[in-house]
Subunit: 293 residues, 4 copies
Amino acid sequence: MIEPGQLILLISHKGKRYLRKLEAGGEVHTHDGKLLMDEVAEAGFGQYVKTHLGKSYLVLKPTLHDLIKGVKRQTQIMYPKEIGYLMMKLGIGPGSTVIESGTGSGGLTTALAWFVGDTGKVITYERRADFYKLAGKNLERVGLAHRVEQVNRNIEDGFLHSGADALFLDVRTPWEYLGAIPDAVIPGAMCGFLLPTVNQVSDLLRGLEDGPFAELEVLEILVRRWKPVADRLRPDDRMVAHTGFLVFARYMEQPEVQPLPGDEPEGIPDSALSDEDPDDAPVTEDDPDALEV
Amino acid sequence: MIEPGQLILLISHKGKRYLRKLEAGGEVHTHDGKLLMDEVAEAGFGQYVKTHLGKSYLVLKPTLHDLIKGVKRQTQIMYPKEIGYLMMKLGIGPGSTVIESGTGSGGLTTALAWFVGDTGKVITYERRADFYKLAGKNLERVGLAHRVEQVNRNIEDGFLHSGADALFLDVRTPWEYLGAIPDAVIPGAMCGFLLPTVNQVSDLLRGLEDGPFAELEVLEILVRRWKPVADRLRPDDRMVAHTGFLVFARYMEQPEVQPLPGDEPEGIPDSALSDEDPDDAPVTEDDPDALEV
Amino acid sequence: MIEPGQLILLISHKGKRYLRKLEAGGEVHTHDGKLLMDEVAEAGFGQYVKTHLGKSYLVLKPTLHDLIKGVKRQTQIMYPKEIGYLMMKLGIGPGSTVIESGTGSGGLTTALAWFVGDTGKVITYERRADFYKLAGKNLERVGLAHRVEQVNRNIEDGFLHSGADALFLDVRTPWEYLGAIPDAVIPGAMCGFLLPTVNQVSDLLRGLEDGPFAELEVLEILVRRWKPVADRLRPDDRMVAHTGFLVFARYMEQPEVQPLPGDEPEGIPDSALSDEDPDDAPVTEDDPDALEV
Amino acid sequence: MIEPGQLILLISHKGKRYLRKLEAGGEVHTHDGKLLMDEVAEAGFGQYVKTHLGKSYLVLKPTLHDLIKGVKRQTQIMYPKEIGYLMMKLGIGPGSTVIESGTGSGGLTTALAWFVGDTGKVITYERRADFYKLAGKNLERVGLAHRVEQVNRNIEDGFLHSGADALFLDVRTPWEYLGAIPDAVIPGAMCGFLLPTVNQVSDLLRGLEDGPFAELEVLEILVRRWKPVADRLRPDDRMVAHTGFLVFARYMEQPEVQPLPGDEPEGIPDSALSDEDPDDAPVTEDDPDALEV
């Protein structure tokens, strides 16, 4: 029995998808006729219901993946391969407060709102009014708007918020806004960036090197799909070869404090904070990076 | 001011890391001398504190990435690149209930517990008593044990739980346990698997094709790191080329229901559910897969 | 001044390509009118000539790449990325004798014939009469037929030739023909194979392990193209993710001779012959694998 | 029976390798004792011979791959994956004349000399006297020096040769030498470049765009090795992720000739010459790029 207010995903035998919030007594008007939400609620997830024209629809509990696929978009949106990694690196989870800009169509905003839960907060900046409105509608539709504070403002003018746990910039010239970060996040906060060209990556790295940032990282994520055929197993013929470069840095108040002669070092070198290959290192019990806890 | 009970990460100028829960009046014994937790609490995140020997330590709020790096391990643990993607595909978020086996050292368990939040639940099965204990200690250390139900049991004997939203198997012969899945998860639940060899992938696909599963997917995730140097930007010389193959499938009660002659199709074909390239498809407003909401 | 008998490549302003052998007094009939070969010869490579309708055509000296692109095909043909690597590994060069099967459309045959020169020989087996004829025409067209001996025969019945320097099999079940190799090549000869699925790779490896072969290698070659734009440099959005797996092995009369107790080892272990990572190892002067010459 | 003057590769049971030219009556002094060349000649390729201390050595006919591995080096040398592709794209084969700079240790020079055969020519420029000498010795050792003309000169001062079929620059700032190319090669000649960083690629592209060049291409080649185990088949854990970017361009006297109003176009647009994805396009009979021959 599905509860009112829960999101449901309805899929026709042709693959047509309808994302709705369950309402007692409600109806869904599909290309194949009308579905009664009460019948959907009674059937339950993973079951089939029929329209008044007798067409079968599968009822599913949508995953975040489904929600993001359903975002109405007027901009390029981020791919799951980058989004998942981002959550790990930025430390996003239930209770996190995160600042994002620009909002765009709200694809990443949806993911951030999903993961911060009801105890967290997403603050998202967008200077274009049309995107601001579009994202608002998208968030409303998937029932996550209450976790998001949308701001229709150019971040050139700075961020209005402070003390965020993490920050993500998906803008064309992020190096122009680095100066606004210290007032927006807590010291030690992780900052992420997504950029399509290597020229932009170079420009951003120059900005980060000049500012209060440490642990710089640049990486790409590639997903290689295989044809799921047991006896003729092989990779797909083609794949997505490029979406963007992910850049990460930690905001540090004193990233390069130098030791005084005859005194103890006050700061820590970048190399001490960032293990060369943090994700990829085969880690064993005697790993020098292993925590002493 | 850091609150008692919060996790803190202390990093020496040499990169030595200590993960602790803050206790009023507590002490941390490092290789460089003693740190007072009250001083740490007062300094706050992103700041430096000194040991009684005058050595500086950086205080950070640990990310999930930091927690997983700190897992004491006797087994290979999953990489962030796979973990992040898994959360997206399995639909894990605050409030989710997820079943996992085997627990191993508890690396993925830590990530699952992080993302399900206090309103969710991770149920993790492990037949070896030593791993069961090790994972328990690791979860305790990072303050996530209360979100996890550990079971020291061979899943050969079935799962003890039902109605989970998602399930993940990281075992050598997952195809032997597919029969236990329908009783453990809700219809429509996403199931994930991680396997190192293509022979295992073939065996698993055979099992999934014979069972109540749809939307089969096989993929690999590659992370390619770059040297973060603005004027000499280029990829690292070497990279991790293989950790494992991720396999996904949706548990469906009637994955292959055939339409009766003269009647409506009751089931939906796999191809309707699974878009060929779900993550990678460039999605536009007129995308046939876009949701009608 | 281009000599009669030389191959010329003519390209229209629309990119239409014509590959011809230069004949004194000859004509080329294009979609844009007639070209006189004498004018082409006089203009020379890298220059433009006009048809009788006044359309310009560029005259180029075709590379092997151009020749292979021009192969009329009824089968999938190999990609330059695999062909180039093959030449290196199989040791093909001027003077080499190499056996190939199947001929298919003659794409690889063209490349082999190019590289063995007039002092070498390519012997190519094809059981299907239609492909045999097609490849013959393709080779004739590019002026390389005199370096090739075509055989219209099923290699099930063995090879008719012996003493080849190298051998390449591009057939569906190469493991069925391994027994014919020792009579066809010199001891120590390199053998190559191309296979689309991992199931076939496993089957072939089983066959090679059971036979007189050493130095087994399996690899894939990926080419990632970039958009050649100086100020917006980035990889192409999509790439070819899979063509096939290349497998290599050295035919050895005694690949696994065991040392007698109290005697000297007669054979050499596979591991001694094959360095773990032969192509990729960064090689330095004190490399243990470096030759003593 | 191996002929005097032929190259032989001798491999100990421990994998120690000796590359020599066979001389009647000669001897090879190994770590395991003395080998008689007459016995080697009589044994033949693929056979074993014993030292005077009774140790077995395998006799092989070296491939190009073996020769390059044996190059004594004081510089980074190119990998087979790039070398093979280069031969294809530059159109190198028996009879080709090719210009190269810098010579370095002579690794690529060896490969070029191998493929051009006795009827071709490699002209290689190196400004450093020590590398010039080292490469000379390396070429002598593998018996290919007679196909190579070495020049100890800075290409800043231009090339001394003209009319080459192809040209390859492996120097730090190739964009500084583009002006010397037109006098060195035939119109329409393919030019290749290898560069480690994207900053250099951008600089080179700017130079090529400003000069008489067409068909610009930038690409990377990745080789992914697999563990050759039939029942546990999977990729190697690590791989080489970066050696360099390959850049190609065709030298054209009039790369951008514009059509006059009311007249026929005189030149051809880059896009007409360069198919978007020349190597990777799945080519079929009705391919618009297919040659009309």
